[in-house]
């Protein structure tokens, strides 16, 4: 009898407990989630205005349970005399819940509908499986434009330092002719290549890359073309320059014409030396391949910005036995030029080439300036390496020694 009673009591207790748990769980699920906390709307910094930054701490119910499904952000123009509760809110975004990670959420509302200098109200709705709770930010926010982007201060300083160093050396070089430049193998070969083409009575082919004038590489390539044209005019060798951009054609014609004029052979110059083929990468490569096989140039120059066609050109040039000199700043194409060409100007060497070839002291000065900046970078690298190594050993170091923070311009 006793045992039976005990069993009954236990069962009743268990039932009660289950009921309580279930009802409380149900009650919890029927109530809307708690609203978000510490909501702030402010002008988004460092921009042209027309943007507002909204920040908030997630609702206390926002966790792994999935009680909060999303946050909806609303914006309304703040009109005088109209209560925030009845303002005409318009939805601007939906944000996913924090799901227990991340202390603060934010959203930047960028829109031309936001006028600078006019107050706006924001509202955040916390949506859950069991309802919605909304929070209106009482304080109106005004978007404004800034005259200086503070996030780019590091870049401004870097540009100022780099420019002043280079300008300093350009100035200094003009008065002083003693600047040593180490030899660059590919550059010495320029004369040799044009000379060989002259001996063999065959033309020189120059490809200034396949990109347009908005790439500095193309400009550097066309400058180099100027010096090659100077050599061909003096040697009276035929020069052929197929291009894939019309603007490059115009620019190259001016430069080559100028070279022929300055070496006193304007009679040898004619516009058709530089001719347009097509804007298309592979059609251009196909056509240049054709030119190579039919005109058999004895020297091929590839100086500019290249993509996959680099190896198509260089292998065809190799098969006709031409001396090939490449120069490019496209890191992905350097391996192909290095394997298939006789000489390759790698990266910075390519940019330095026009200074070497021109013997213009101002150019040489700017190379010296580049070296000084390089030295600064190397010092930063050395300090950074030591910092990281010591930090790995657990040595406490001040933050201002961390080069990765000082040079970090990822947000710019």
């Amino acid at each position: 009898m006793k045992a039976r009673f005990a069993r009954f009591t236990a069962l009743a207790l268990l039932l009660c407990l289950t009921a309580i748990t279930v009802t409380s769980a149900l009650a919890q699920d029927t109530a809307p989630p708690a609203p978000v906390q510490e909501v702030i709307a402010e002008d988004n910094p460092n921009d042209r205005g027309h943007a507002v930054l909204v920040r908030w701490h997630p609702s206390p119910d926002d966790g792994t349970t999935g009680r909060v499904t999303e946050y909806r952000i609303y914006r309304a123009r703040c009109l005088p005399g109209v209560q925030p509760e009845v303002a005409e809110f318009e939805r601007v975004s939906i944000c996913s819940p924090a799901l227990g990670v991340g202390a603060e959420l934010d959203f930047v509302d960028v829109s031309d509908e936001i006028e600078n200098g006019i107050p706006y109200l924001y509202k955040i709705e916390t949506h859950g499986s069991a309802g919605v709770s909304s929070t209106i930010i009482d304080e109106p926010v005004i978007a404004t434009a800034q005259w200086f982007d503070k996030s780019r201060l590091t870049m401004l300083i870097a540009i100022l330092i780099a420019s002043s160093v280079i300008i300093y050396w350009i100035q200094k070089a003009q008065g002083n002719t003693n600047i040593y430049l180490r030899p660059v193998a590919g550059l010495k070969a320029f004369d040799e290549a044009v000379g060989r083409a002259t001996e063999m009575g065959q033309p020189v082919l120059f490809v200034p890359g396949i990109m347009d004038m908005d790439q500095i590489e193309t400009l550097a390539g066309v400058s180099i073309l100027g010096y090659v044209a100077n050599m061909t005019s003096r040697y009276e060798t035929k020069l052929e320059v197929p291009v894939s951009r019309s603007l490059v054609m115009a620019h190259a014609r001016e430069v080559v014409k100028e070279s022929y004029l300055s070496s006193g052979r304007p009679d040898l110059y004619h516009d058709d030396m530089i001719h347009y083929l097509t804007d298309d990468q592979f059609a251009y490569a196909a056509a240049v391949d054709g030119i190579m096989l039919r005109d058999k140039p004895a020297a091929c120059f590839y100086q500019g910005k290249f993509y996959a066609e680099s190896l198509i050109l260089a292998e065809t040039g190799n098969s006709i036995g031409a001396i090939q000199i490449a120069g490019t700043a496209s890191p992905a194409q350097l391996p192909f030029f290095i394997t298939a060409c006789d000489y390759t100007l790698i990266g910075e060497e390519f940019f330095a080439a026009s200074a070497y070839l021109s013997n213009d002291m101002r150019h040489i000065g700017s190379i010296r300036g580049q070296d000084s900046i390089k030295m600064l970078f190397m010092i930063a690298l050395a300090i950074g390496t030591i910092y990281v190594s010591l930090a790995c050993l657990g040595v406490p170091l001040p933050n201002w020694l961390d080069m990765s923070l000082i040079l970090d311009v990822s947000g710019s």
């Binding site: 540009i159 040593y180 430049l181 180490r182 298309d280 190379i367 580049q370 390089k374 690298l381």
Partner: protein
Amino acid sequence: MIVTIGIWCAAFLTLAIFSFLYKDNPFYRFAEHLFTGVSAAYWMVVAFWNQIHPNLFGNLWWPDWFLRKWPEFTYVLVDEVHVGGEILPGNALVDGSLSPEVLASAELVNIISPIYYIPLVLGILFFTRLIPKISYLSRWPLAFVMGMAAGLRLYSFLQSNAMMQISSTVNPAPIMGQGFLAWLNFLIVAIGVFTGLIYFYFSKEHKGVFGQLSRVGVLFLMLSFGAAFGYTVMARISLLLGRFQFLGGWLGGIFGN
């Protein structure tokens, strides 16, 4: 029918280009010349419809009768169609939702940006190259392009190619607490970048210690070139696979396999 002709045409052109591997021949010459002509026109057409038409014409002023004359052409230039208090997008001119009578009474709104007369003028100036007497005016658009390139690239290269690269080389976050090997890898990268920069140092003779360091830099560059070469081979073979698969499909079509 049109599709069959197309596939035969594509197969012929594919084989014509491949024949170049053996030697230059009339088939390759034909394909090459066709390619040049077609692609030059292709990019001209694409530039017209993707740049000049929407981005230039779309920002200029046009008389109302012109906007109504060729709606298939001008609907891109029209920003809004106002019909009885309703604002519709320019599409309404051609999507068939409005009857011609309604359209005739609708107001076409074309928002103009006067600043776009600058590229129009510069673009036209470029055509002065055709008139030798004033061809020097074509230097103006060239000067514009070069100025823009200089201002744009100076910043972006210094930022992403120089500062960011050094900053991520000496970033302690991924190495801290990862043990000795992580630090060793970090050191290898740091030494590689440092000696590589020494190789690019122009104004000092590469002799002695400096020369030795520069040589180490060259080794790093070579390693990187070799790796990049090997890495790319796979993608290149895939391209060939694609062509062979296409030819296989074509042959399969012929022999009904």
